[in-house]
């Protein structure tokens, strides 16, 4: 009760303090505050002195921040840049057929050996380079920026989602921040990003993380909270500790949702690539921008298509895993099962017979 009363009291106090400070800081204020009571013309247009000096505060703070802590950003910058460059160099160094083969292999195993999906993704990957030879290296550059960005999202987003699912208070505190991150125009943090990290790939990664992390956090939180309460109770009734419950039950059952979060994260990161090219990030977005600047519609479309293809490939890889998890809810395919068993039995027989044959051969020798 007392706590509530205090909050109700604090809000008007803060508001009045804001009014007074903004009035004092304003350059166009009347000499005497009493004038406001005799002359009411300020009610017509928004008065110039009724203005929070937020811009000045942020600028001052940012300047101070940049000067004092710039060194730490330098370290982060170097670290991330090194990670991106080495990943990119490695992928560019590999011959392109090998990279396609690698992508195909990943899709094949993560989708549970679905041939259709695998072939489709293989073709898409091939077409990225096929559209324009220059696109291959650019796509790899874009992918490496995204991969690092997504890795950071996963490293921070999933633990944050877990914490949110456990405490209502934390959730109430984080949700508005996520809303802010999703709605604030990306240039608002691209520009400070440049000032802190310089032009290039690193501010792009920071922007990607800010833009793409909210869905992952939300879906992790939601996925964990949606786990059937009776299943959780079952784990508790057997004496599972919080850790055992989280790792053994909650996370595995939230995995389809978390994978969906990673998928959304990937898609949003890709959307960021074009915007990030405006602050000098190289990659496929760079080509789109170039096409637009030269009014070269064909070039822009070609690059746009390459981005779509890249999106399809990444989407299939992240989706396929989630779909595989859901397969266990399907009824058993008895027919297939039997066929498999027969095959296995046959194999065994042939193996044994060849073995026997060899042994016999050895003996005769």
């Amino acid at each position: 009760m007392i706590k509530k009363l205090l909050t109700y009291l604090a809000i008007p106090v803060i508001f009045i303090w804001l009014l007074i400070t903004s009035f004092k800081a304003s350059r166009w204020k009347p000499d005497n505050a009493n004038e406001l009571l005799s002359d009411f013309s300020w009610l017509n247009d928004w008065p110039k002195w009724l203005d929070i000096p937020l811009m000045k505060w942020i600028n001052d703070w940012f300047k101070f921040f940049n000067e004092e802590y710039g060194i730490y950003f330098e370290i982060v910058n170097n670290f991330l840049l090194g990670a991106i460059l080495s990943l990119k160099k490695f992928l560019v160094f590999l011959p392109w057929p090998l990279v396609i083969a690698l992508v195909v292999a990943i899709v094949f195993f993560s989708s549970g050996r679905k041939v259709g999906t695998t072939v489709f993704v293989g073709i898409c990957t091939f077409f990225i380079g096929f559209l324009h030879p220059k696109f291959w290296d650019k796509a790899i550059e874009t992918t490496s920026i995204m991969l690092i960005g997504i890795l950071i999202c996963v490293l921070f987003g999933i633990p944050l989602g877990i914490i949110m699912s456990r405490s209502r208070k934390v959730r109430n505190a984080i949700l508005p921040v996520l809303d802010l991150m999703q709605t604030i125009p990306s240039f608002c943090y691209l520009i400070p990003g440049i000032m802190l990290f310089g032009l290039g790939a690193v501010p792009a990664i920071i922007a990607t993380v800010i833009y793409a992390i909210p869905p992952l956090v939300r879906l992790t939180d939601l996925g964990i909270r949606l786990v059937d309460i009776e299943v959780i109770e079952a784990a508790e009734a057997f004496g599972a500790s919080r850790r055992q419950k989280l790792l053994g039950v909650q996370l595995p059952l939230a995995l389809p949702n978390i994978m969906q979060g990673i998928n959304q994260c990937t898609m949003m990161a890709l959307a960021m690539v074009v915007i990030a090219s405006m602050i000098g990030t190289r990659g496929l977005g760079d080509e789109v921008l170039l096409g637009l600047q030269q009014l070269n519609v064909g070039k822009a479309t070609e690059a746009g298509l390459a981005i779509v293809l890249l999106a399809i490939v990444l989407d299939r890889i992240t989706q396929a895993y989630g779909e595989k998890i859901q397969d266990r809810n399907k009824p058993l395919d008895k027919f297939n099962e039997k066929a498999k068993m027969k095959k296995a039995a046959k194999k065994q027989v042939t193996k044994e017979s060849t073995k026997d044959g060899m042994e016999a051969a050895v003996k005769t020798n």
Binding site: D228, V231, A234, A237, G239, Q244, L253, I325, R328
Partner: protein
């Protein structure tokens, strides 16, 4: 000594349960508390003692607090006031670590909607309790396999719960609960989600298992027939209060109030009443007019369902005897008709 002792448990759901407690203790009922304070009374001064090796059935309609009560025994829910003593240990005094140990060793639970882990195979599900106890893998596989065999699910070990029917899933639930070899089994509406045929099948299976294992079972249900069939003792809850506790016959023959009466009204008494309950004691029975050739001996624990046809057809007299063959009383058509019309 009783195995589980619940003493004066109160549970109030809401923001300030402690402030509401005095009001509930003074006798305000559930509706009044809800109306005045917005708090829900889950349990209101419930005391039960459950003996070792018996099936105690806790019965009531939804909202009567029966599921809340069972969760106090393994402390999935903490009471607002009261005591829970299991095996002489005050469960509420255990700290976080001790309570986990206590749950691991002394009891396990079966759930209404099975509570199986959808991402684990059947054998992994059954072995879950052992996995939590850090039993080595091959050993727990072996124990789990034994439990799967005993509930008749051989061949389904490596399937997922969603691939099994409801009845099979609940058998997995039962096997999982038994795999840790607990002394106490908590069954929360365990058979309520099953269709009638499978349910009576499971009831039979539970009775069979119990005759071998002699666990202490706390069984929750909203079905009176089920509670009469399974329970050694039955406790009836209404609005968080314990209305009546007793053996099935006591509840049928002497319902404590209108609520219990309404429950009992539609019960098939012949399946519940035993010969010893309806007989006239031998010193009060006038045996002079009875032809000795029409007297048959029956055991005192026989359900009257079994003797009704014979008594009606042959107009004979049943001589009720105990295990050693001593006459305890007699049953004629008069006793039967009285037992079936009472109340």
């Amino acid at each position: 000594m009783s195995k589980i002792e619940i003493k004066n448990i109160y549970k109030i759901f809401g923001n300030y349960p402690d402030q509401i407690l005095p009001m509930v203790k003074e006798g305000a009922n559930k509706e009044l508390v809800m109306e005045e304070t917005g708090h829900t009374v889950g349990l209101d001064n419930v005391s039960i003692s459950i003996k070792e090796g018996e099936i105690f059935v806790c019965m009531g309609l939804s909202g009567s607090g029966k599921s809340t009560l069972i969760r106090h025994i393994n402390r999935l829910i903490d009471p607002t006031a009261g005591q829970v003593i299991v095996d002489g240990v005050d469960v509420l005094s255990l700290d976080d670590k001790e309570i986990l140990d206590f749950r691991k060793k002394t009891m396990s639970m079966v759930f209404q909607r099975f509570g199986l882990f959808p991402h684990k195979t059947i054998i992994e599900n059954v072995a879950y309790g052992l996995e939590i106890q850090k039993v080595p893998e091959d050993q727990r596989k072996e124990i789990a396999q034994g439990q799967i065999d005993s509930v008749g699910l051989q061949g389904f070990e490596h399937q997922y719960p969603a691939q099994l029917s409801g009845g099979m899933q609940q058998r997995v639930g039962l096997a999982r609960a038994l795999a840790t070899n607990p002394q106490i089994l908590l069954m929360d509406e365990a058979f309520s989600a099953l269709d009638p045929l499978i349910r009576s099948d499971m009831q039979k299976q539970l009775i069979e298992l119990q005759s071998k294992l002699k666990k202490t079972i706390v069984f929750i249900t909203h079905d009176l027939d089920e509670s009469l069939k399974l329970g050694d003792h039955i406790g009836i809850l209404n609005g968080g209060r314990l209305v009546q506790v007793g053996r099935p016959e006591d509840i049928i023959m002497n319902p404590a109030d209108d609520y219990v009466k309404a429950f009992v009204k539609d019960v098939n008494r012949t399946k519940v009443l035993r010969a010893q309950t309806v007989m006239t004691k031998k010193d009060q029975f006038d045996a002079t007019n009875i032809n000795p050739s029409t007297i048959y001996k029956i055991d005192e624990n026989t359900m009257i369902e079994e003797i009704i046809p014979k008594v009606l057809k042959e107009r004979c007299t049943m001589n009720v005897v105990d295990k050693s063959g001593n006459t305890k009383g007699y049953i004629t058509s008069d006793e039967l008709s009285e037992a079936l019309t009472k109340n």
